[in-house]
């Protein structure tokens, strides 16, 4: 149930936004985050709950560095 999906903000008035999920454009509540046009947000049940760090939103390569960092 805690499923959340990342999408890109394409339009916003600061309270709600139009978010592009691979071509599906949905209205999303934006009040719980601070996001601008172009940001990737993580959306759960119609509400953005987190803004994704841009570099890491698109790739997980840093994951391996994170594991090593954590286990140092």
């Amino acid at each position: 149930m805690c499923l959340a999906v990342p999408g890109k903000v394409i339009e916003t008035d600061g309270i709600t936004a139009k978010v592009d999920f691979s071509g599906n454009i949905l209205n999303v509540e934006l009040s719980l985050v601070t996001a601008e046009i172009g940001d990737y947000v993580l959306v759960h049940a119609g509400v953005a709950i987190a803004v994704l760090a841009e570099d890491e939103a698109l790739e997980t390569i840093n994951l391996y560095a994170e594991v090593e960092d954590c286990l140092k």
């Binding site: 805690c2 009040s31 719980l32 119609g46 709950i49 987190a50 994704l52 994951l63």
Partner: protein, 353 residues
Amino acid sequence: MITLQEMMDKLKYYNGEPVQFMEVCGTHTNSIFKHGIPGMLSKNIKLISGPGCPVCVTSGNYIDRAAEISMKENTVLYTFGDMIKVPGYNTSLSAAKAKGGRVEIMYSPFDVLNLAIANPSTTFVIAAVGFETTTPIYALLLDKMIKNDIHNIHFLTALKTIVPALEWICGSNPNIDGFIGPGHVSAILGYDIYKKACSKCSIPMAVAGFEAEEIIAAIYDLLIQSERKTSDVHNLYASVVTSKGNPKAISITDKYFQAESASWRGLGSIEGSGLFLRNEYSEYDEDSRSIGVDEKQDQGCLCGEVIIGKVTPDECPWFANECTPSTPHGPCMVSIEGTCGIWFRNGAKKICK
């Protein structure tokens, strides 16, 4: 830098002390099976499922109450889709709908807002189920309702918090060597919040994303930590999770909800593990506290033991025999994130044996 292949080799050929890692979140369970991860692990590494499927831990009394509400005049009950087939003790929401109850599925609780404005003489009751990921959404909706003077949406709450449940579990199942931390609950809560419980229970945690490589990295992290006998909390989902979480979501939840004891299906009452609307907002509460403690447990269904990792689904004599997704006896077989249903749909006997 370590490579994915090296991590996978370590997990495949590990022949040290047998270890059991619990994935707390039902979305992880789903992803673990979808990617065939149990088949990539040495027989000395076992993954067990945890309590993080909100549908599975919602009491049977609650479902019976929600079904009753749907039969009331001028009332519509809105629920997330995965609740609809879950059996209560007397009925289910789909059975209530078949008998004329008004049960509708929502994608977002905000779907209900415009309907409530357009139909002021109808009461809309939201079956507000979920963990910390979902609770801020109900709080945000209530905030908008109050600002817009909307009074015909009520909340029937069964909201849970994960940390008291983890502490309870480590007290009742001593054979857990690590937790795969929930990704999206942690997006809200941050990862610092787990440190006290993990240290107290001497169990490490790796907060993980939901892709195969992210879960493999988390299992690898826990394996190394269990070899080193550390119980640190590591964040391997840094694109989403921070140490303190989402402050706006935490503060709006705290404004409208307070922690109290809550009933977990199959487990009983756990102190401080539920969130209820504060008394000053009781006009929006559909009398949720009166549902009370779930004393009537499912007879014969082992769901309560599955969600604390004491048994695996195939150890239940009903599993895949009389209990299947089309003839479910308990919530774990019904929910999309229920462990039994996930095992069944993925032909688990072949994968895990």
